[in-house]
Amino acid sequence: MNNVLKGGLGLLSYLLFTGGLIGQDHFFLIQKDLQEAHYGEIRSSTLRMEAIKEMTNMTTGNFSSFFSIKTSNDMPSVLGSYIIENNRLVFQPRFLPDPSINYQIEFSFKQLSKLTNKDFGQSVYTTTFQFQNERFKETEIINFYPNEDTLPANILRAYIHFSAPMSFENPYDFISILDFKGDTLKDAFVEIQDGLWNADRTRLTILFHPGRIKRGVGPNVKQGSIFKDRKTYQLAIAKEWLDTNRNMLKSPFNKSFFITPSVRLALHPSDFKVKILREGDRYRVELCSDKILDHALAARMINLRNKDGDIVQDAEITSRTNSILIMSEYLKRGENYILSINPELEDVSGNTFISAFDREKNEQATSAVNTIVIPFKIE
């Protein structure tokens, strides 16, 4: 027998002896990002359909017998649930991982074969993993819009921006408005139980009760408007609101605002002026207005276009007090540009270019308003 063959047989013997025990980090996909909604989940590699089929009616106890996560080998398995997703078996821990623990993870096809009385091989995959040990970054409120200190009495909505995804708790358990006497306002919001969130639950839209804002409507007649002119209010957000990892916010949030008379006028192009400022190689375009625009709508209803009508790449729209700031490194000196505004853009009181939100009975909406176009040139 030549040496190569002897070496090959030796390797085969070794593998047979160890029973195919393999430490394979790539077999397991571990969600280790603290800020992710699925933090702590552990997924197997993709499995054969035959194996998936056998798992259809398995109990948690069955799953943990071949796919176990333990704090140490002589201890019971970590509690959690198992789901099948994209042909992978996924373990979802009952509690968030503890960064002080070195978890022992094992997936045993040997045990699966024994459990199902089918042949899925004898491989056993193991790994150990310790989740992040650094201090968890607490979720905080990073922006509140409108961010002005004076707001019209007929403000319709506001936006709360969080630094990380939030949980499915009722947001209105944590948001309150105190009036100038220190009393909590009742029925100020339209309370949508799970909240009105963006896709990754980092932006909450809160709706002030339109029935109390629009004149002549039942709640407005019965309860009156939410805010009184020339008074100061405070919006308070409690720290106890949990993020998706069930941690409280870093700190409570408070915003005081002074109420001014309701704004019941449709927007008009003359309400806006363009200012061009240079900062180094970048040209800052400011769209200035004394109207407080709805921040989320402004971000998608105001576009910066080049002379060919194409939307300029890298445009960045942020809201500032009395202006919308648009900055782009693609703006070229000597070039013509267009700011185009969707006529359905609203101010915070719901007024658009088409009509006021709360117009008089005999007042007609402006029909068929075209896109507002404001051309300018970088000189």
């Binding site: 704090t71 398995s77 970590v78 509690l79 509690f95 503890d98």
Partner: protein, 370 residues
């Protein structure tokens, strides 16, 4: 020898679903194996049927040397981070139930309770043989009743900085014949309260505010809740025997606790300041009833309910030296926390051992006598 038989009970008023329990603060079983969960955070009591009705007549001990390590392993954390909020034993199956959370690492004051620090969110079941599993609270038969006017969620503790009083909305639950009694804090001016309601739950729950004389403090108190209590017939009258922080023992006439009144208790003993009563259990030794009470800073206290019944006095003045009233016997066994009647021969207890580990131990009723 274990004899198993299936006992089936169908409780009226229950529906199938997943109860919305916000905190598993307190646990208590009735004789039909229905588990009552006091939810302080949610301000409600849930009656859940876990389907755990196979009768067991096991009379052996159960001892688990390092309970917190095993619980920690199940919760994916270390033993140092596990907290047991309450323990109850199903009288039919003898399965042990623990309400558990992570968060002991931040437990830094003897004046805090686990419910002050965390909401227990998981129920662990331990069989008489020691097998540990999670007791699922999903898709089960249950009913719920809300406490009328529990202490407001925002009220802060007067002297426990950062703690909210809501964690004491429900401090103990006892079941007696067809009625449950719930001790805790209400939102009334006199906060300490006892609620009562028949079970199966009907629409109404009665609330009584309660007042006692505290011997160690030398004053009447209305804002400190009952910490541990149990019902007992004394002198042909149903009484609730109740222990308070720092540590009066009081009797309340159960008959007065059903008509929305402010009720004064009769203080029959004072066991001294600086102590939380944790649990109270009634058991029999040679056919005679005794009561065993566990404490945070005192040893086990054993007393004869007949001594309570025959005690004619009432403590209405400050007690010098802190100890007065009904005769009691301190028994060995420091570090004992939760107590529950386990089987005909043993009381189950959790006990902090000299090693620092928390053990589940079986206390022999035969040896627990004055």
């Amino acid at each position: 020898m274990v004899i198993s038989a299936l006992i089936y009970a169908n409780t009226p008023g229950m529906k199938k679903g997943t109860p919305d329990i916000k905190s598993i603060s307190i646990l208590e079983f009735n004789s039909d194996g229905i588990l009552f969960i006091g939810d302080s955070k949610g301000g409600a009591v849930f009656a859940v049927d876990l389907g755990d009705k196979v009768k067991s007549s096991n009379d052996k001990t159960l001892n688990i040397l390092d309970l917190e390590s095993k619980l920690g392993a199940m919760l994916g954390t270390s033993a140092e981070n596990v907290m047991i909020h309450d323990m109850a034993v199903n009288p039919i199956s003898q399965n042990i139930y623990l309400s558990v959370s992570r968060g002991r690492a931040k437990w830094s004051s003897n004046w805090e309770t686990p419910n002050d620090l965390e909401d227990a969110s998981i129920l662990i079941k331990i069989s008489p043989a020691g097998e540990m599993t999670e007791a699922s609270l999903s898709d089960i038969n249950y009913s719920v009743i809300n406490l009328p006017n529990p202490i407001d969620a925002e009220k802060e503790h007067r002297w426990k900085k950062g703690a909210k009083l809501r964690s004491d909305a429900i401090t103990d639950i006892v079941f007696d014949e067809d009625k449950i009694y719930i001790a805790g804090l209400s939102n009334e001016e006199f906060a300490a309260a006892v609620w009562s309601t028949p079970f199966p739950f009907k629409a109404d729950m009665k609330m009584n505010t309660v007042e006692i004389f505290h011997g160690a403090h030398g004053k009447y108190e209305t804002s400190s809740p009952i910490r541990a209590f149990l019902p007992y017939n004394l002198n042909n009258s149903k009484q609730l025997l109740a222990a308070y922080l720092c540590t009066p023992l009081v009797t309340f006439e159960a008959g007065k606790l059903s008509n929305n009144q402010h009720v004064k208790g009769r203080t029959v003993a004072e066991f001294g300041a600086g102590n939380f009563p944790i649990d109270m259990v009634l058991y029999q030794n040679n056919g005679k009833d005794y009561i065993l009470m566990s404490n945070s800073a005192l040893p086990l206290l054993l007393f004869d309910p007949l001594d309570v019944g025959s005690f004619e006095g009432e403590i209405t003045e400050e007690v010098e030296g802190y100890l007065s009233g009904v005769k009691y016997t301190p028994r060995s066994g420091t570090g004992i926390q939760q107590l529950a009647d386990f089987n005909s021969k043993f009381i189950l207890a959790t006990q902090r051992m000299p090693s620092g580990k928390l053990a589940l131990v079986s206390l022999s009723k035969e040896w627990l006598m004055p």
